[in-house]
Symmetry: C2
Subunit: 360 residues, 2 copies
């Protein structure tokens, strides 16, 4: 009998499912990767900024993956109003609002200026009142002005004061620093939570790929290029330590962000994003096992995220348990559906763990 671990009803709190053919390819792979609950990013073209669009998008996803629970988000922009937040909350149309600094990643051109969030304070207030989470892509846009010096390597660290200020100004707003990549970010989240015995207000999601990558791995391998970029060895170690710590303010958000292979295999303009969805839990299991911390995996992919997001049993469309099974599998070089090809993270490699689902 192979070794198994019951991970329960798992959650991935940062998922890109796109639209069209890509949506058709990747949406069913949420469950393939061992994930039951998926928190869906709104950076479509145009972005999701209305209740109708959120509900209609969710309906399309649900049709493609009937056993997956989808939580929807708005894209923070000037189209959002406090009234819209109140209405969306009443209808349970969204669980959160995602904030993209303008120009830092895929489809972020309509994002906001992270140097000044004050125009959005009425929206944040409405979110705080309605228990809607704020999801931050925590990077400052690059600038090579002398004295400013913002680039992909320090863009996250330089964003952290803005996170702290938002928490100070909205102490009851739940905020997630998404896909954090630096020791500085981990330290900031720890500091905010020191001595807190009440509900967690500020947390960070951590991807699978940032537990494996440093800058060297995307230099010359665009398959590993994402935003925020993977940083230095000491940053990777801090992320692994946080993910495997059992601390409730760190939880899984894959930021799985698929692109057609031709958008990754180009000498110019490679799209940022790493596709991990179809093997999400096995990728994580590999890292947790290497640290001798497999017993902490369930907390990271289940308890912490669901607790932070107040996800209740009655919100779930399916209550099957994800079972991690010690069974080797090969990672395909490419995943193909019709004329669409996507290269998965660690394409061509091997993983020690596989996924099964157990109906209760």
């Amino acid at each position: 009998m192979p070794e198994t671990i019951d991970l329960g009803v798992t959650a991935d709190l940062h998922v890109h499912l796109r639209e069209g053919k890509m949506m058709e390819l990747v949406t069913p792979t949420v469950r393939d990767g061992g994930i039951s609950i998926a928190y869906i990013m709104p950076n479509l073209v145009p972005p999701v900024t209305t209740i109708e669009r959120a509900l209609e998008y969710k309906e399309r996803l649900q049709a493609l993956a009937p056993k997956t629970t989808f939580l929807m988000t708005f894209y923070l922009s000037r189209e959002l109003t406090p009234d819209l937040i109140h209405e969306a909350a009443k209808l349970k149309a969204i669980a959160g609002v995602k904030c993209y600094p303008a120009g830092v990643t895929t489809n972020s051109a309509l994002g906001v200026d992270p140097n000044d969030f004050s125009d959005f304070y009425p929206v944040f207030k409405a979110m705080e009142e309605n228990n809607i989470v704020l999801n931050l892509h925590g990077e400052k846009p690059s600038s090579d002005k002398e004295g400013e010096e913002i680039h992909v390597m320090n863009a996250e660290e330089l964003f952290l004061p803005a996170l702290i200020k938002l928490h100070d100004d909205f102490p009851n707003l739940r905020i997630v620093l998404e896909h954090c990549t630096t020791k500085a970010a981990i330290d900031t989240i720890e500091e905010i939570n020191i001595g807190n015995r009440g509900e967690i207000k500020v947390a960070a999601s951590i991807t699978a790929h940032h537990l494996s990558l440093i800058v060297d791995n995307w230099a010359g391998d665009p398959i590993n290029f994402c935003k925020p970029v993977a940083k230095l060895p000491q940053d990777k170690r801090a992320l692994i330590k946080a993910a495997t710590s059992g601390k409730p303010y760190f939880f899984f958000g894959s930021d799985s962000a698929p692109h057609p292979i031709h958008a990754k295999a180009s000498h110019i303009g490679v799209c940022a994003g790493i596709y991990t969805q179809s093997l999400a839990i096995p990728y994580l299991a590999e890292v947790f096992e290497s640290q001798g911390k497999l017993e902490k995996l369930k907390a990271f992919v289940n308890d912490h995220g669901k607790s932070f997001y107040h996800i209740k049993d009655e919100d779930l469309v399916n209550k099957d348990h994800c079972i991690l099974v010690k069974k080797e599998q090969h990672i395909p070089e490419v995943i193909v559906q019709d004329d669409l090809k996507v290269a998965p993270f660690q394409a061509g490699g091997k993983l020690s763990w596989s996924i099964e689902w157990k109906a209760l």
Copy 2:
């Protein structure tokens, strides 16, 4: 009449011309780019480690570009002996020996361990005695061991103590830190040369592309990926300041390193190297002009390098002057010869300066 600047007999002290069809394509473009003297890298497969191979390679290059003066180099490896250096010097077969740390860039698998050069000290001694230059690819191989922390962003800075030790151990050996990319490297070269009124023993070559790029520019644009990688805004500024300073220990070495476009447009295993040869001087002119320092360009591309390398008029196969002409030109998207395609630096862009040759 357009503005013109006579740059005299120019030199590019770091050139990759490859073999086969790539050699046939790029060798004539040395002159297209405004360069008269080209210092040729030995990282062929197998590398250049014998007098016969150096002379035979030079002959092939000369046939393709009769007006270009070629200076040849050996690849530092265990095949080199002091006797071979003495013999090569006597025959004027080589001007320098290039040292590649194992595994850091294209065709460097046979390179040396930069943590310990002592095995090569007899070779360095022979080079010192024979006025043969040591060309250093100044990077430590990456390591993510805790406490070591070597990655593409700090690999050059961590190499600098090895440079200083070599200079201390061989004070009369002329050493070039090739394609330097960091403020730390510039500062080290400055410090070594402070107060020196004699011959320059330690210099640095600077590429055209590192005067334009930072880490953001190769994140997502493999056309801009090279080793050493472009670093941070403050590093770029230090390089520009050094190149335009008129200080004689900084000179031009393009490190133009062509690859077929399919080796740059891949989602995995992109080859390191930027092709600048065909527009080398116009790329530089753009940067120097932006700094209001065009009057320093001749020193950078002519006097400093030729002086450091002891290049004399009688060594030249042609004495035409390179004339910089203020005349806009478009950079092609791709350079094609038969079935070989190479994407040039800043493909599809524009340059304000062109090149003409004046026979004397």
